[in-house]
C-alpha cells in the first residue's frame, strides 16, 4: 500500500538489479554490510555464550556522544565532518569509556550490572542527543549525515567506507578464528582455563574489544540503537540448530551475512526503508524460522517430541490397564464382564473418551490388542508380553518405593506412574538386583486394582 506511488514493474526491475548486484553502489554497500553480518555472527557466538550480549548494547549507545563530539570538533577545525574513520575513532573512544564506566559502577557500588548498563547507555545517549541538538541548531551544519548513525542508513556509504568496514570485519573474524581454541576453552570453563594458566582476563578483554569493534564499524549501517541485534540475533538463531561450537559459529556467520544481504536489498529496493531496521528484521525472520523449526530445542520439534512421549505414555498405561483387567477377569470368554470393560478402562484413569479410543486404535495398529467379535478388547501375545513388561516396571518401582522410600502403599501408585515410562533396562536390572524377592515373574499389585463393581 505504501508502494502505491511506484510503478510495480519499476520495482521488479530494481529488485533484479539489486539482487544480482547490478549497481555499483549496491555492490559497495552490500560488501560492507555482508562483511559486517559475518563478523557480528562470529563474535556474537562467544558474546552470547559469555552472557555479555547487553554490554554491547551499552557500548553502542555510549558511542553517540563520541560521534557527535568528533563531528563538532571537525566542524570547528574546518575539516570534513563526515569523515567515517574519524567519526568511528570518536565512537570507539566514548564507547570504551562507557564500558569502563559500567565496569566501574558494578565494581564500586551495590548496583547490579543490569542497572549500570541502563544508566550508562541512557546517560551517554542523552549527552549525545544534547550534542546532536547543538549540531542541528548550528548555522549551515550538514547534520543530516549524523542521523544515519542512529537509525542506520547505507545510502551515504562510500567505497572507502565499505572497504574500511570490510577490512575491519575481516581482521575481527580472522582474530576470532585464530583464537578459536582459546575462546572455546575460556567460554565454557573459564575457571579451568584460568587454573590451566590461560590469560583469562586478557582473553575476556580481547573478546570485548572484538565486540566493541563490530559495534563501531556497524554504527553507520545498522545504527546505534539496533547494533546489538547483529551480535545477538544470528547466534541466538544458530543455537536452535546445533550444540557444536564450530558449527554454531559457521551457522551464526551465515545467518548474519544472509540477513545483511536480504536487509540491504530490501532497503535498496523499497523507498524510505532504513537499512539497519531492514537488516534486523531479516535476521529476526531467520530467528523466527529457527525458533520454530530448529532441530535443537526448536518449538515444533519439542512439541512433536512431547506429543510422541505423551502418546507412548498413553499406550503404556492402556496396556497396563488391560493387563490388570485380564489378571482379574481372565483372558478367555469373560462373559458378563465384557460389558463392563469399557467402564473399567474409563475408570482406571479418567481418560477422555477420545484419547482412550485413539490409544486403543494405535495399539491395534501395532498389533498389541485386538477387538474380538464379541465386543471387547483383548491383548495379543505380543501385546501381552509388552504389557507384562510395563506392569512389571510399575510394580518393581512400587516395591522399591515401599522398601526404600517408606512410602505408604496407598501412595506408591502415583509415584510409580511417573517413573515407569522412563525406566531403562539398566535401571530395571538394578531394581531386580535390589529386590530379588520380587524379581520373577511379576509381583502382585500392592493396592486394590480397579473393579467392575458399581462404585458408591
Amino acid at each position: 500500500m505504501w508502494l502505491g506511488n511506484y510503478d510495480s514493474s519499476q520495482v521488479l526491475h530494481r529488485l533484479i538489479r539489486v539482487l544480482t548486484l547490478g549497481d555499483y553502489n549496491t555492490r559497495v554497500v552490500m560488501f560492507g554490510t555482508v562483511m559486517l553480518g559475518l563478523a557480528g555472527g562470529v563474535v556474537g557466538v562467544f558474546l552470547l555464550l559469555r552472557k555479555r550480549s547487553l554490554l554491547a548494547d551499552a557500548v553502542g549507545h555510549a558511542a553517540l556522544p563520541g560521534v557527535a563530539a568528533t563531528f563538532i570538533i571537525l566542524m570547528q577545525l574546518g575539516g570534513n565532518p563526515r569523515s567515517l574513520p574519524l567519526l568511528m575513532l570518536g565512537a570507539l573512544v566514548s564507547g570504551l569509556l562507557g564500558m569502563g564506566c559500567v565496569l566501574f559502577i558494578t565494581r564500586t557500588t551495590r548496583l547490579t550490572q543490569d542497572a549500570a548498563l541502563g544508566i550508562i547507555l541512557s546517560v551517554f545517549f542523552g549527552f549525545g542527543i544534547v550534542l546532536l541538538g547543538i549540531i542541528q541548531r548550528m548555522r549551515g551544519a550538514p547534520a543530516a549525515g549524523l542521523n544515519s548513525f542512529i537509525y542506520g542508513r547505507t545510502a551515504s556509504m562510500l567505497l572507502s567506507d565499505a572497504v574500511l568496514i570490510g577490512t575491519a570485519a575481516l581482521v575481527i573474524i580472522g582474530l576470532t578464528l585464530l583464537l578459536f581454541k582459546e575462546f572455546r576453552l575460556f567460554t565454557f570453563d573459564s575457571p579451568f582455563a584460568a587454573g590451566d594458566g590461560w590469560p583469562v582476563t586478557f582473553l575476556d578483554a580481547l573478546l570485548m574489544a572484538l565486540a566493541v569493534g563490530v559495534t563501531i564499524i556497524g554504527l553507520q549501517a545498522v545504527g546505534i540503537i539496533l547494533i546489538i541485534a547483529i551480535l545477538v540475533i544470528p547466534p541466538a538463531a544458530a543455537r536452535f540448530w546445533t550444540n557444536k561450537l564450530g558449527l554454531l559459529v559457521f551457522l551464526s556467520a551465515m545467518f548474519g551475512a544472509l540477513g545483511s544481504y536480504l536487509g540491504t536489498s530490501i532497503s535498496a529496493i523499497l523507498p524510505r526503508m532504513p537499512a539497519g531496521a531492514a537488516i534486523v528484521v531479516s535476521q529476526g525472520a531467520f530467528f523466527l524460522v529457527s525458533l520454530l523449526f530448529g532441530s535443537e530445542r526448536g518449538l515444533i520439534q519439542e512439541l512433536i517430541a512431547r506429543n510422541r512421549q505423551k502418546r507412548k505414555i498413553l499406550r503404556q498405561n492402556l496396556l497396563r490397564a488391560l493387563y490388570e483387567f485380564e489378571e482379574q477377569y481372565g483372558t478367555g470368554n469373560i462373559g458378563a464382564n465384557q460389558e463392563g470393560q469399557w467402564d473399567y478402562l474409563n475408570d482406571a484413569r479418567q481418560w477422555q473418551r477420545g484419547s482412550l479410543y485413539r490409544g486403543l486404535k494405535s495399539l491395534k495398529k501395532q498389533g498389541r490388542v485386538l477387538f474380538t467379535p464379541r465386543g471387547y478388547w483383548k491383548l495379543t501375545p505380543s501385546g501381552r508380553s509388552e504389557a507384562a513388561r510395563v506392569t512389571r516396571n510399575h510394580r518393581l518401582w512400587e516395591v522399591y518405593l515401599l522398601e526404600f522410600a517408606a512410602i505408604a502403599p496407598a501412595h506408591v501408585d502415583q509415584g510409580a506412574d511417573q517413573i515407569e515410562h522412563v525406566l531403562g533396562d539398566e535401571m530395571v536390572a538394578e531394581l531386580e538386583k535390589l529386590l530379588p524377592r520380587f524379581g520373577t515373574p511379576l509381583p502382585e499389585s500392592f493396592h486394590p486394582l480397579g473393579s467392575l463393581e458399581e462404585k458408591p
Binding site: 547490579t112 542527543i129 540475533i233 524510505r272
Partner: protein
C-alpha cells in the same frame, strides 16, 4: 529577574511541567525495576513499544490518547511474556532473549514510522528523542483553561501509577524484596510482575512525547539507582527517586537553554540534557553517598590505614623502650625514644623508604598526644606507651599461638602476627592468653607485656 535573563516564557513553564510529570512518574515506576534487578527490562519495553506507538498513529492519527496507552500496555505485556517464554522454553540467556525481542520489535516500529511519515505528521526523531518543545503547541481546553494535551495525559498516568502503588504498597514491597515469601503468603507475585510491566509500558508511552523512547530509560533507571545508593527504606527510596527525577527535569530544561549559550551556541535538546543532569546526579551520589560512596569509603580506608600506622609506630617505640631497660641492647637509646631516622631504619620497619608518610603520621600522633618530641627524638606519652604495650602484647600472643597451636615455621611467625596485631582488641587478647595458659614469653623468649590497665 532571573526569568527574564533566561528569556523564560509560559512555553517554558509548560515544558518544565511536562518534563517534571514525566520524570516523577518514571522515577516512581523505575524504582521497582531497579530494586527487582530488572532494569534492562525497562530498556527492552521502552524500545519494544515503538510498533505499538506507530500502529496507534496509523490508525488514529493522534499522538496521544487512550488507545495509545492501551496498545502500549498490551505490547509491554507481550514483550515481557515473549522474553520470559524465550528464556524458559529455549533456555536462551535472559539478556539475549531481551536483545532479540526488543531489537526486532523496535526495527519493525522504525520501519512503520518511516513508511507512515509521508502520510502522518510523525518524525522518527520525535519518537526517539522526544519533542518536549512541541508539547505547549497542542492545547486542549479543560475547565476553561488551555492546558497542553501532553500534560493532561502525563498527569493521568502519574495519578494511575500513584494510586496503584499506594493501594498495593505492601504487596509491591514484599514482592520486590522477597518474592518467595510473598508467594507463600498468597500474594500473586507473577500477576503483580505483569501489573508492573503494564505500568512501565504505559509510563514509557506517556513519557515518550517528552523524553523519547530511548531517553525514557534514563528517567526510569537513574533516579532509582541514585536512591539505592542513598537510602535503605522503600518509602524514602521512592521519595528520593521521584524527587531527583523532578529536580533534574527542571535543571535539565534550564541547562538546555542556558549552557550552550556559554559556548556560543543557541540551545539544545531538553530531553537529552535531562538525562545528562541525571547522570551528573548519579555521579555525585556515587561520590558522596553515606557508607558506600567513594568519598566515604576513601575516608574509611584512610582511617584504617592511619590506625595501622599509628600502632606500628607505637609498637616500635614499645620495643625500643623494652631494649633500653632490659636485656639485649641493640639500639643504645637511653629513654626508649627514637628519632625519625631510627623509626625508618629499624629492620622490618613499615616506614622504610616512606619518610613522608612517617612524617605525617608522627605529626598527627603528636597532635593526638600519643607522642612527644624531645631532643630530636620521639617518645611515647603515657597513653601512647599503654597502647604500644597492647600492640606488642597482641603481636607476641599471636606468635605464641601460631607457634604452639599451629606449628608454623618460626621464620614465618612475624609476618602473620604483624597483620593480626592491628585487628586484635582487649577481649580477643584475653581469650588468646587464657587459651594459651597465660604465657609469659613468646617463642623467641621475649617477654609478653601485661595487659595495661
Amino acid at each position: 529577574m532571573i526569568w527574564s535573563a533566561l528569556m523564560w516564557t509560559s512555553l517554558d513553564t509548560w515544558i518544565v511541567l511536562a518534563a517534571v510529570l514525566a520524570g516523577v512518574t518514571c522515577g516512581l515506576i523505575g524504582s521497582f525495576l531497579v530494586l527487582k534487578k530488572i532494569s534492562m527490562m525497562g530498556d527492552a519495553i521502552s524500545h519494544a513499544v515503538l510498533p505499538g506507538i506507530a500502529l496507534a498513529f496509523l490508525l488514529t492519527g493522534s499522538r496521544s490518547g487512550l488507545p495509545l496507552l492501551i496498545g502500549a500496555g498490551l505490547v509491554g505485556i507481550l514483550t515481557s511474556v515473549l522474553v520470559q517464554v524465550l528464556h524458559q522454553h529455549t533456555r536462551l540467556e535472559e539478556g539475549a532473549s531481551m536483545g532479540v525481542v526488543f531489537t526486532v520489535l523496535f526495527a519493525l516500529g522504525l520501519i512503520m514510522i518511516e513508511q507512515a511519515a509521508r502520510n502522518v505528521d510523525i518524525h522518527p526523531e520525535h519518537v526517539l528523542f522526544g519533542a518536549v518543545e512541541l508539547v505547549p503547541l497542542r492545547m486542549v481546553e479543560l475547565w476553561g483553561f488551555d492546558i497542553p494535551q501532553g500534560v493532561i495525559v502525563l498527569s493521568g498516568v502519574l495519578l494511575f501509577n500513584l494510586i496503584l502503588v499506594l493501594v498495593f504498597f505492601k504487596e509491591f514491597r514484599l514482592v520486590t524484596f522477597d518474592p518467595a515469601l510473598a508467594t507463600t503468603l498468597g500474594i500473586p507475585a507473577t500477576a503483580l510482575h505483569y501489573v508492573l510491566m503494564i505500568m512501565v509500558s504505559i509510563t514509557t508511552v506517556a513519557a515518550f512525547e517528552v523524553v523519547g523512547s530511548v531517553l525514557v530509560v534514563a528517567m526510569l533507571i537513574v533516579p532509582g539507582s541514585i536512591a539505592w545508593l542513598l537510602t535503605q527504606r522503600l518509602s524514602s527510596f521512592l521519595l528520593v527517586s521521584t524527587g531527583v527525577a523532578g529536580v533534574s527535569a527542571v535543571l535539565g530544561h534550564v541547562a538546555a537553554i542556558t549552557i550552550p549559550g556559554f559556548f556560543g551556541y543557541t540551545d539544545t535538546s531538553t530531553a537529552g540534557s535531562m538525562a545528562v543532569v541525571l547522570g551528573v546526579f548519579f555521579f555525585l551520589a556515587m561520590v558522596i553517598a553515606p557508607d558506600q560512596g567513594l568519598f566515604a569509603r576513601l575516608v574509611k580506608k584512610i582511617n584504617r590505614g592511619f590506625a595501622v600506622h599509628t600502632q606500628d609506630v607505637l609498637g616500635l617505640l614499645a620495643r625500643s623502650a623494652e631494649r633500653s631497660t632490659g636485656s639485649e641492647d641493640v639500639l643504645p637509646l637511653a629513654d626508649g625514644g627514637l628519632s625519625a631516622r631510627n623509626l625508618a631504619a629499624i629492620q622490618g620497619s613499615p616506614f622504610a623508604g616512606r619518610r613522608f608518610l612517617l612524617f605525617i603520621v608522627l605529626r598527627c600522633m603528636q597532635f593526638g598526644k600519643l607522642l612527644v618530641f624531645r631532643e630530636g627524638r620521639y617518645k611515647a606519652t603515657e597513653q601512647g606507651l599503654r597502647r604500644g604495650q597492647e600492640v606488642l602484647r597482641s603481636h607476641r600472643l599471636w606468635e605464641t599461638y601460631f607457634h604452639d597451636d599451629c606449628q608454623v615455621d618460626p621464620k614465618e611467625l612475624h609476618y602473620q602476627a604483624d597483620v593480626l596485631e592491628h585487628y586484635t582488641d582487649a577481649k580477643l587478647r584475653k581469650d588468646l592468653a587464657s587459651g594459651l595458659d597465660e604465657p609469659i614469653n613468646d617463642p623467641q623468649g621475649r617477654p609478653i607485656p601485661d595487659e595495661p590497665e
